[in-house]
């Protein structure tokens, strides 16, 4: 019999002040074992101060095929960027 262990995605906080970043995945029977395995696989050289494990099946992702329409609302709003506004160069601290 081989009911294989579920897949977990692993996120590591490199040091205080940084976000958790996705580093890879692993298989484990439960969350606690997933954390222990993640420590051994992904932080053998002090790469992290905190680990998250998330069941891979619980992640909902945007589809790359919809990339253009999905992200287009951001594309035409150039006024959201500071460079949209021209300010005379001699005005300080702006």
């Amino acid at each position: 019999m081989s009911t294989s262990w579920p897949l977990w995605e692993v996120f590591v906080r490199g040091k205080r002040g940084l976000n958790h970043v996705h580093v890879g995945s692993l298989h484990a029977p439960d969350a606690e074992m997933a954390l222990r395995n993640a420590r051994d696989v992904y932080t053998r050289r002090n790469e992290g101060v905190s680990i998250w494990v998330v069941p891979a099946a619980a992640i909902t992702a945007s589809s790359p095929d919809e990339k253009d329409p999905f992200f287009s609302p951001a594309g035409d709003k150039v006024y959201r960027h500071p460079t949209f506004y021209s300010i005379p160069e001699d005005v300080p601290h702006l």
């Binding site: 019999m1 081989s2 009911t3 294989s4 262990w5 897949l7 580093v23 890879g24 995945s25 692993l26 298989h27 029977p29 439960d30 074992m33 051994d40 696989v41 053998r44 050289r45 992702a61 589809s63 790359p64 095929d65």
Partner: protein
Amino acid sequence: MADDLELRFERTVQADARIEPRDWMPDGYRKTLIRQIAQHAHSEIIGMQPEGNWISRAPSLRRKAILLAKVQDEAGHGLYLYSATETLGADREDLTLKLIEGRQKYSSIFNYPTLTFADVGVIGWLVDGAAICNQVPLCRTSYGPYARAMIRICKEESFHQRQGYELLMTMMRGTQQQKDMVQDAVNRWWWPALMMFGPPDSESTNTEQSMAWRIKRDTNDELRQKFVNMSVPQAEALGVTFPDPELKWNEERGQYDFGSPDWDEFWQVVKGGGVCNEQRIAHRRKAHEDGAWVREAASVHAEKQALKEGAA
């Protein structure tokens, strides 16, 4: 629509951007990647054996701790790579079965035996050195998860190579017997290390397509030449020689000339005729089968805990 997807894929690769797991990709690209990354993962896992052979007999606690850490790294490298294959839709359990049933290959270098402790040093220096030569360009390979796994691996391989070279330097400061042991190990590993880059470009069937897809970034012969150029001064500093009468500096080319490995031997080992092929697979199979009850027990424990939590 399909043409459109293919065009987008081609453009991404040509622009040296990365292909990511959920992107459309040609079937051949996916298959080639799964085959290559799985073979690479299997090599890391099988590669634990030749050196693991010396953990219990390491000559000092320091060397034992280093060797343990190194073999643990190889396991980690195998896991990073299996993780990358799963982003392509491969199944880890299935890959393990393919390995122990001989349906997928691993690097032939691990089918050679480790006869003395000097072999541990030479494997670190030359075998991991050759692996680094192969792997550094793979940090820029077109498939994102593979490239990211390679970056992690390359960082750790540097420790592997340096501990090996330091081990050999220590032995070369020892007795004549120890020095002879180092030279003997170098003599045995030099040619197999050169074979790690694969067959000559003229006979390498996969190179052209893999280069076009930017999975591979340099040809086998280019990497082999680079490795020879890097290794010769290291051998001189160590005080050993390579067993190749044709090895000499070519002023005109600005590179070393060197002899051709015995490709008949290479193919023989690839096809299963190496000294340790059977032993390596049998050992991996035993570890997998002996571990079955642990995997099952952990699953049952997890189920029971989940039930308890549900009831509480």
